[in-house]
Structures are given as C-alpha cells and as structure tokens.
C-alpha cells in the first residue's frame, strides 16, 4: 500500500522524532538524569508511528512499557513526555509516573500498568464504555509477543470476541521477551493466528514498513468503528537495544541484530521518499534538523524543570482523604 506524499513525509518526521527521542533518553539516562530503568523502542518506530496514524480524537490508547513513541503520537508535547521520564513536575504526570507510567487522559492515553498484560483487560473496559455511550471510539492496545503468554491476553480476546468490542490489538512482535525468544514461548510463528480461537481476525504484517502498518491498523480500526469487533494486528519488528537500557542482550546473535539494523524503518522510508521523488536529500536533512531542534528544546526544558519533593509524597493516595506524612 502507498500512502500520499504528505502522509509519508509526516510519518518520516514522526519516526525521526521517536528515534531521536529514544536516543536522547538513553543519552541522558547514562548521564544520570533519568531515574529507574527504561525500555527503548529504537528499531520499532514504524510500528508505533504507523499504528497510531489511525488514532483519532476521542479514541483510547493503552501504551506498554516500550512505548515512549506511542505516547508522543497521542499528541502530548515532547517536552511533557521527556520531563515525565526525567521525573520532573512539568511532566504529563507531574513526574510521578516516569518512563513506565506515562499517561495523558485528556488526549486518550490511559497509561501503562507495568504488570505485563494487565492493560489487555483494561482495554475491554474502555471499549465497553464506548459501546454503552455509543461514541464510536476505538481502543488501541499495544503489547509485545511475550505478553501473549499472560492469561489476561486470552481473557481479553475471549470477551472482545463475544461482545464484539471495538479494540485494535497492536501486537508488537519484536521476537523477544527479555531473553526469551517468541518461538520458544509460543507454539505459533504468527501470533495473530491466536485470534481465530476467539473468532477475532488476525493479520501479520512487516512492522518496519510504516505504510503496511498504517494500512493494516487502519483497516482494523475501521472495522471496530463499524461495530464489527476487534482485530489483532501483529507487527513483526525488532528492538535494536537490550530489553532495558544497559542490558547487554548477549542472548541474541550479533548477525541477527545486524540484519535487522539493515532493515531500519527510517532508512526504508527515506529510500521511498527519494525513489518516489517526494523529497530530496536536502529536504530530508531539513526535517532531521527541525526534529533535532525540537528534541534539544525539550531536553533543556526537562533539565531545567523542578523535581517533586517530599511534600508531594502523600498526595493523591485517596480522593478526598488525607494520608499522614512523617
């Protein structure tokens, strides 16, 4: 499938943004600016950007632990997402969530639960609410190949199948759950096939081809909007780095990593733009430079922002009930 020129240029800009965002988070994590551990999506930009192209105002999305890019695609300002990861009060959750718990309720990002699989059943609730209210909203749930092993995945599919819930299951298959190969953890090569047990159609596409991703997720979202129920869209991709920043990932053969880096989604999109004569090398460089400026401004913003203090510790434990501090 081919998207129009303007859209492919937009995809390219967004993928560069996600790539540079992740690289920047890693750089500043190594410099000591980022508390906790972070999971980077370098290599998975086409999956995140292409899938979120179908996300509309009023829809819901549940990102997972490797979803900084998804959070950006919701439309939350880069500054606020970065500040959140830095644990600053200017972050979209006032620095209380961090990398694994980025949410933006006003824009439909309902946030991640770092217990893998939990959001799969939460997704059913969002979808039921939009059925009850007849809003036509679609719920996009991002999760990995490993998380298919959780019971919640199967409970979610069963319910979505029988209640025809408007959910798009965005199954990001990057081949691994930490050190465990998807092929060692599941009895199927294409995990989207699991949908057939629940009467939910499943499609498997090249997750590094942003146009293919956009088309498959778009079709699934339209199906959901028409009231025809859920779809699993499996996006085959690869994470370039370890499971978390700092994981040497010695459980993966080097040739495998090299081969996947050859299939860089940014490089592929640049090639398409050039081959179709939709952009010159100079125009592409200008996009890269504009993104870089945005990233550096966000870094400055995040670095300069204040951190929460002890006084903030006991806020929000209950609604309308206080908890004593020390």
């Amino acid at each position: 499938m081919t998207v129009p020129k303007e859209q492919l240029l937009d995809f390219y800009r967004k993928m560069v943004l996600v790539r540079r965002f992740e690289e920047t988070v890693e750089e500043y994590s190594k410099k000591g600016y980022v508390p906790g551990f972070i999971h980077l999506g370098v290599g998975q930009e086409a999956a995140q950007v292409g899938a979120m192209a179908s996300f509309q105002e009023g829809d819901y999305v549940l990102p997972d632990h490797r979803s900084h890019g998804v959070c950006l695609m919701v439309g939350t300002p880069v500054t606020e997402v970065l500040a959140e990861i830095f644990g600053k009060t200017t972050g979209c959750n006032k620095g209380r969530g961090g990398s694994m718990h980025i949410a933006d309720f006003a824009r439909g990002n309902v946030g991640n639960n770092a217990i893998q699989g939990s959001t799969l059943v939460t997704a059913c609730g969002l979808a039921v609410a939009s059925q009850i209210r007849r809003t036509g909203a679609v719920t996009f749930i991002f999760f990995g190949d490993g998380t298919v092993g959780r019971g919640e995945f199967h409970e979610s599919l069963n319910l979505a199948g029988v209640w025809k819930l408007p959910i798009v299951y965005v199954l990001v298959n990057n081949g691994y759950a930490i050190s465990t190969r998807a092929t060692d953890a599941h009895p199927l090569e294409d995990l989207a096939e699991m949908g057939c047990a629940y009467n939910i159609p499943g499609v498997t596409v090249d997750g590094n081809d942003v146009e293919a991703v956009c088309a498959a997720v778009g079709e699934a979202a339209e199906r959901a909007r028409r009231g025809e129920g859920a779809t699993i869209v499996e996006l085959k991709t690869y994470r370039w780095q370890g499971h978390f920043s700092g994981d040497p990932a010695s459980y993966r053969p080097e040739e495998e990593v090299r081969a996947w880096k050859e299939r860089c989604p940014l490089k592929a999109t640049r090639k398409k733009l050039i081959d179709r004569k939709w952009a010159t090398a100079e125009e592409i460089a200008a996009i890269d430079a504009a993104v870089e400026k945005e990233i550096q401004e966000a870094v400055q913003f995040a670095v300069d922002s204040p951190t929460p203090t002890e006084k903030d510790a006991v806020a929000h434990v209950y609604v309308g009930r206080e908890v004593a501090g020390k």
Binding site: P35, G97, M100, I178, A185, E310, V317, A324
Partner: protein
C-alpha cells in the same frame, strides 16, 4: 572465610542443592538462558540442562501451577517470580492451592515449593517493581515467608527452604543482591522459623528483616556511640511464622520495642508483631511499642518521594529515642 555477594550465595545454594537432590528443579522467566533478571540462576542451565532449568513464557500463573503440580507428585520446584509485585498474577495458585493443599487433602499431599522473588524499594522502579509484599501473604495459613538479610543467611535459608516440606515464599530484597559477606563453601541449611540476635543490647529491642536489619544495625551502632543507648537488634529471617520466643525473651529484658519494616504501616508485619508483644509481654513493657514503616502510600517514582516514603535510618533513630525518653 571467603567473602561473596548475596546474589552469588543464592546461586551457590541452588548449584549445590540441585547437585545433591535431583528432585530439585528451577523454573521462571529468563532463568535459564539469561541466568535470571538479577543473575541468581546463572550457570544452572549449563550444569543441569533444560529439563531441570526451565525458561517459561511470561505466564506467572502457569509458573506456579507447574510448581504446584510437580510438587504434588514429589518434585521440589524452585520457581522464580522476577519481581514480588508480579505475585499478584499467581496469587490464586499460591494462596488457594499451594498453601491449602496439605490441609485440604488431610495431609496426604505435600507442596514443597520455594517461590523466590525480588522485593523492596530503592531501585527507582516505581509502583510495580518496588513493593514489599509480605503482608499480602501473612493472612494465609499454610504459607511460610522467609526473608534473609545477609549472604550467609541467603545461602543457608534457601537450602533450608528447599528442604522444607511446606510452600515457602522466599523474599530477596533487591538492594541486598550486591552486598557481600562471609559464606562457607560447603553446603549447609539454616532452620526455618528462627530469628537471630544480630547485636546484643540492654535498653531497646529492635526487630527488623531484610534491608531494615542493616538500617537498624547502623542506627544501633550510632546511638551506642553518640547517646549511650544500647539496642539489641533481632533479624527475623523467617517472617511467618515468626520466632515469638526470641522476640519475647528479648522484650522481657529490655521492655522497649521498635519494630522496623519496609512495607506500609497499616496491616503490616509490624502490626502483627506489636499485637503479639502486647498480648504476651504487656507487663514487661516500659514504653508503647513503636512501629517504623513506610507511609501508607505507594512507593513513588520520583527519587525524593521514594526515599521519603520508606523508613530511613533517622526514622529508626527517632523511634528508639521515643521509647527511651518515654
């Protein structure tokens, strides 16, 4: 004597006990090829092979289900749940199956499983990777909870736990994995259910476990030096059933009690310890029992919040002064 880390002591316990008893096997996420998220199961796959060292899919309920089933027919599984927070995903197996099988089936079956898991705050890993979970499991008759504080105890208690015929939740505080101490090379087992006097004293009894033992010892040394207060520090080592005799014997001598536990205060282990002391040693008390716990709120992401919420050495010192000055 040789000095090794807490993590290596656990690793050695598994190596030696698996060599001694071929009924012992290990399973969990990333325990085989990678050697565990914290490296505790490193090298086991090479030595004992894939039948006895199993990487599982991301399926906590299935991990515990396999452990229970295998234990019912005579094996001695050691299951790893990567972070204690994920025990929610196999709560049913542990609470309704492991803990009750022996009772429910009139003693005809045993469930000699060990569930190893990383617990505790201090890792900047926020809500779902930092909790102290012992209180979630205290109200479950049949379940034993073991929690070492030193490499020596880690090795001996893990061996003791594997040899015990009961289901045991074995808590490993993640901030202790890198700590070092003297550990004999030979295989040894320590008894389950026995506390240890880490430091004798006359004025105040401090009861602690895991990381809080180290806080308590540091405070005891400082108060001895600076304020001539003599604290006796008890390390529970087994949280449930706790060693009532050792606690009551100490309280009978000191009459003053400070209980230190990293979990939120309400409904914590400290509540149970305090109730027991008040019930059985009321007449010996010279001051109200003091509890030092985390605040009744989640472990936050922002470092300032995390550090404030959990007990700090100064909180322990303040409680000791309070019982002395009463």
């Amino acid at each position: 004597m040789r000095t090794i880390t807490f993590k290596d002591a656990l690793n050695e316990a598994l190596h030696q006990e698996m060599a001694r008893d071929d009924r012992v096997f290990v399973l969990g996420e990333d325990v085989a090829r990678m050697g565990g998220d914290f490296g505790v199961t490193m090298g086991l796959l090479r030595k004992f092979g894939p039948d006895r060292v199993k990487d599982t899919p991301l399926s906590e309920a299935a991990i515990l289900g396999v452990a229970n089933g295998a234990a019912f027919c005579g094996l001695r599984p050691v299951a790893e749940i990567m972070f204690a927070d994920f025990l929610t995903e196999c709560y049913d197996q542990l609470v309704n199956n492991s803990a009750k099988a022996h009772y429910m089936f009139a003693g005809k079956v045993k469930c000699p499983i060990v569930v190893r898991t990383a617990t505790g705050a201090g890792f900047r890993a926020a809500y779902h990777h930092s909790q102290n979970v012992e209180a979630w499991f205290m109200n479950v008759p049949g379940l034993t909870i073991v929690a070492p504080s030193t490499p020596y105890d880690a090795k001996g208690l893990l061996v003791g736990a594997i040899r015990d015929d009961n289901p045991i939740l074995f808590l490993e505080h993640k901030m202790l994995y890198g700590t070092s101490g003297e550990v004999p090379e030979e295989l040894y087992a320590l008894p389950i259910g026995r506390a240890e006097v880490k430091r004798p004293g006359a004025d105040v009894t401090i009861v602690a476990s895991m990381k809080m033992v180290h806080h308590s010892l540091a405070v005891a040394d400082e108060l001895d030096r600076e304020e001539e207060i003599s604290c006796e520090v008890l390390d529970l080592r087994t949280l449930i059933p706790f060693d009532k005799e050792t606690i009551l014997e100490s309280v009978a001598r000191t009459g003053r009690v400070v209980l230190v536990n990293e979990a939120p205060k309400t409904g914590s282990l400290n509540a149970e310890l305090a109730a027991t002391i008040i019930e059985e040693a009321f007449d010996a008390l010279k001051a109200p029992v003091q509890r030092v716990n985390a605040l009744d709120c989640p472990v936050g992401f922002a470092p300032a919040i995390e550090d404030y919420v959990v007990p700090r050495p100064e909180d322990v010192a303040r409680a000791v002064r309070a019982v002395v000055d009463y």
